[in-house]
Amino acid sequence: MEDSNVTIHRGGKHEPVNITQHEEVVKFFRENRDGGKFMSDELRRNNSNIDDVLGVFDHREQKKAETVDSGRFRVERIDSTSRMNQGRAAKEVSDRLRKNSLEGKKSSNSRGKTKTDKNWKTAAVSLLIIASFAGGLGLKDSVADVYSTIKKTDELKQETRTYQQQIDEAFTNKTFTGDTQIDYEGIAQMLEKDGIDNKDLYMTVAALGEVKADAVLDSASNPPADSIESYMRNNNITSINDWMEKTVQQEILKDQERETQRQLDTIFKDSENTASPKSNNIGGK
């Protein structure tokens, strides 16, 4: 087996992640990119509740510590506490936003104008994005919506094309030898170049991206996967992009089917209630 030593830089705020062994490097990227499924599974299992999901992550942090020490999957781990704190902070901001939005009295809509620091707007918008992500995840009951949220995050990343290109080129050229770097700092710079002058937004995207990285840590306790080449060959996958897209599409279709079924059930229950006015069945959850 070919050994690789890949360093993934996650912006300036984290330590690099070092992963040894070619297969596990490949596995890392494959599962990292498939993290959306992991997250949706967790949401489904936990009744789409962000508290539960964060709780799951807490539990996974403990598992992670054991995994890191196992020696089989050597990871000089990123600052996971930082990511966890970001998750909690997101929920706090979301909770505060909800409370503030539902409470208080009527006020005047008369407007004034003032000059403000550019950083204020950046911070305010970023926090609102974080809060809406966290709030959205907490209340959405459709896994397809979660996919859509995650895909939106991915799209932001892919706008820069750097992340996508680096992975694809590495797959195509088999350049997982020596140092391969995912340059998150470069992505941030490109976001700025594209007019998204928003470091905090980038950090949000990076933090959500790191949620996906949990999948690989969970899998570290499982037997090593086949190499990506044999995996693709055995599963008739000719392109990792197509495979990823199909996987997501299939999940979305399944979710849509479930949603349609749920709506049919509701309609059916409603019609039963209409037919039997004395029934106590009010439908819904």
């Binding site: 939005s101 208080g104 403000t116």
Partner: protein
């Protein structure tokens, strides 16, 4: 950078974004002194003079979705 603000509870809140749906405009606001202090208010086409809190969790969720889309 110039922005609009409204005064709520004697604090100045900058207007981050406004989104309209069904003759209701949702205003996304953040405290000018503390951007973590945020809230959503709404006004209607019939009464655009008053900003009022949202009615329910469902409406809050609706407003968040509106912001995201």
């Amino acid at each position: 950078m110039e922005i609009e603000y409204v005064i709520i509870d004697d604090k100045r809140f900058g207007v981050i974004e406004e989104k309209n749906a069904n003759d209701i405009t949702y205003v996304f606001l953040a405290n000018l002194e503390d951007p973590t202090d945020q809230l959503i208010r709404k006004y209607t086409k019939e009464n655009s003079e008053d900003l009022v809190p949202l009615d329910s969790d469902n409406e809050f969720q609706f407003a968040l979705n509106l912001f995201n889309n």
